[in-house]
Amino acid sequence: MEATATYPFMAGGAAEGTTLQAGAVALADLTACPRFGLKGGGSAAWLKSRGISLPDINRIGAYRGMRLLRLGNEDILLLAEGGGEALAGLREAWVRDSGAKGYSSWREEGWAWLRLSGLRAPQAMQRLCALDLRADKFGVEDIAQTRVAQVEAVLVRAPAGFDVLFDVTASAYFARAVAAVTPYCQDLPTETEGNI
């Protein structure tokens, strides 16, 4: 990752000045965190040749401390938080390999990565996404490829919330959409709590 990269919410970015809210529905920007996506014929075989075991489609696996998302038969995404040394090593090996290896899907540049968390995050997701995301229906190893705030997105569970990956150009819109639903997430009937 280039040290000089500018992401939308940073100074000089396209969404500079857009508030990433805190509180009961909080939004955090993880767009600068390392990730690496492979897509196209040969992607799965190349990863398997490195000794990486792939989960089923729309399920999450793990590789050296990273989350490994199987978005399709030949569409795989690795998410690294923290250092990302293992990810960098894998990327270098992929770049060096001159054989069949799939194609980079440029997830580190094309997608924003926002984390929605907080006490009322589940209620916010009720308003932003049509899917049933209750814990017994959408587990920690599940992936939903769907629409969130009317934007095509990859949705997974995160510690105390949800990670949403979507077109980076929609970053400011997404933050505003979350802010727009937040006032309606404060006073739900108490009997709905605990079921979400």
């Binding site: 569409d75 490829q145 769907t146 095509e152």
Partner: protein, 88 residues
């Protein structure tokens, strides 16, 4: 909300999908006259009945097939294009 069952992603709002029209046999470039090409490219069949169509689940960019009744708009079934049982 109309629901379409994606073979890969499950039940979803039909707004998440894009239709690509009926599956059609390709033409043989060596045996096809201009008039046939014109018909193939520019004229839709638009008949009543049940057809198998290409659909795409947009968030996952997954293409699959759906059997649909063109009169009632009922989606009878959906299946992956590699499914050997699918087109029978």
């Amino acid at each position: 909300m109309k629901i379409l069952t994606c073979p890969m992603n499950g039940d979803r709002n039909i707004d998440e999908f894009q239709s690509f029209g009926p599956v059609r046999a390709g033409l043989d470039p060596d045996r096809t006259a201009d008039a046939e090409w014109a018909r193939h490219l520019f004229r839709a069949e638009n008949r009543k009945g049940v057809v198998i169509e290409w659909w795409r689940h947009v968030p996952s960019n997954y293409y699959f097939l759906a059997e649909r009744d063109l009169v009632s708009n009922e989606i009878i079934r959906t299946f992956d294009s590699s499914d050997p049982q699918g087109r029978t």
